[in-house]
């Protein structure tokens, strides 16, 4: 399993520190996060200086929201990232003019949203974005999906409808305040209801906010949740 952490989860806004934390850990993937607008340029300009050689998979998280006046500048900066071929994770509501984001082509990766966001929570919502952005792929955030619908019915619909678009998985507990946290027992049970629908070969990025000493344990927990042996039996017939 290709699995790793988001730099934003490990050291908010400090990607160098996050990469230091990950050095020597058993991770094969990383997501470079510029979750706030003013973090984007420094991160893009630092990419060449980062040692990412130990990762099989690298993705890039665009700011989770941005001012309309910053959108074109963001697209210029993210255009540079797209030349590296990395998936660029974008929140649907961060795009003021979604059609302009087609310029990122297949690097554009749209994420399903949590309950705070006005759009992008359901399969129908996402469908509208994929109509405008046909080359885009999907970053399926299983924690967001659970927060929107704890029965995991909507998660199952999203996973089934966009099976061929799933680029990567975001995993964490998303609590009632929409904060990312370590997986709780509730999340584990919920995720196991749909884990059989998650393609086995897609990279997994953890967004759980953990201390350095907790990284390995959280990774082990996620591996167990997604393991085919642990899919929760929903029916006995």
């Amino acid at each position: 399993m290709t699995i790793g952490f988001s730099t934003g989860a490990l050291a908010r806004g400090d990607f160098r520190r996050a990469l230091q934390i990950l050095a020597g850990k058993n991770t094969s993937a990383v997501e470079l996060s510029a979750l706030r607008q003013d973090e984007l340029q420094p991160l893009v300009e630092a990419i060449e200086s980062l040692d990412l050689g130990s990762f099989e998979y690298v993705s890039f998280h665009a700011p989770s929201s941005m001012e309309a006046g910053f959108e074109q500048r963001a697209l210029e900066l993210l255009g540079r990232v797209s030349h590296l071929g990395w998936p660029i994770i974008v929140h649907p509501d961060a795009m003021h003019r979604p059609e302009d984001w087609n310029r990122l082509r297949e690097c554009l990766c749209i994420e399903n949203m949590d309950k705070r966001k006005p759009i992008g929570q359901t399969a129908d919502d996402l469908e509208r974005f994929f109509e405008i952005l046909p080359s885009a792929s999907l970053c399926f955030d299983i924690g967001h999906a659970r927060q929107v619908d704890p029965t995991m019915g909507e998660a199952a619909i999203i996973l089934s409808r966009f099976a061929d678009k799933i680029q990567q998985l975001h995993v964490s507990e998303v609590n009632s305040q929409s904060k990312h946290d370590r997986l709780s027992c509730e999340s584990v049970l919920a995720f196991q209801r749909v884990s059989h629908l998650v393609p086995t070969d897609i990279p997994v990025i953890l967004e759980s906010r953990v201390e350095e000493a907790e990284i390995e344990e959280e990774i082990t927990r996620v591996r167990e949740v997604l393991s085919p042996e642990n899919h929760l039996a929903m029916a006995s017939d």
Binding site: V148, D149, T151, M152, H196, A235, D237
Partner: protein, 357 residues
Amino acid sequence: MPEATPAIGGMKNLLEAEPFRRYREEAARVRASLDELLSNEIPAYASDDTSLVVFGSLARGEWTSGSDLDWTYLIDGQANSDHLKISQKIQTTLEKAGFVPPGATGTFGNMAFSHDVIHQIGGQHDTNRNTTQRILLLLESYPIGARTEAHERVLRGVVSRYLEEDTHPLTHDSKRYRVPRFLLNDIVRFWRTMAVDFASKQRDRAGKGWGLRNAKLRMSRKLIFASGLLVCFSANLDLALQSEISTGKNDIKIKLASHIRNQLKSTPLEILAGSMEKYGVPGDTANQLFAAYAEFLQLLDDRRARESLSNLRSENSRTDAAFQKVRRFGDSFEQALDKIFFENASIAPLTRKYGVF
């Protein structure tokens, strides 16, 4: 079991005819005005954790001039003492705007919490109020405004909860879904509870309001019950759902839950119309059912007749002109339902198997 060929085309056209269209459009207008009113008086009255949900004729799309407004402030989030203040403000705002308040039972016009609705199904703590809120949430509820997430989450949670308790959702040969018995039994229980409460209210209120309650029991309450049965039966009858049965056991309940949720997006009248078309109920039965229901709505929309029914006590029912009308269209409505549930080749076997014993 083969799906019957529709006996008549466009059964849903019945819903496009008057007076159904008028009352449906009026309900949509009132719901929109309600949102506007509350948004002005209580900005952001709903949130990602709360929804204002209406029930009854406003939710069913059957709003007539004398309709009362049944609502609840549904909470699916962290406990917060401000929820009560918001609920009270909603109540005051609606009263000032002249909406007829909900009945005196306390079932509506206040807060409801998702935990009770989802967890307390059956058992000692499932009160009449909780059962009523839960079943009506499924069968005739409508969230007001743009913040509908809490309503949607709770509704899915309730459906999922019912299905969790059904150990074997498929028939022995795994080719069809079985009727979800836990859900069906709760809907049947709710119908019987309404009938028993009818007698209880007659005693508690010394006969006051008997006529109107009787008419509603014969018509709109019975409609809700019938639509609930049909939603449950559709699990076994809907061919599209059966075609989705996969070898992946984990998908089975998720697909059934999704099917039931989608069914519940329709109003009870739409469920009746859609089922009659799908299962080949003869056109004259459909016409009989909708004609009777149209008479009921028109009577409720007639201020004098409604008032007369509201004031009618049971001892005068055999001589009251308005009630004789109720009795007549009520009988006709029931005859049509009998034909659907006891004579239709698809539905009747399920009524026999699940309806009584």
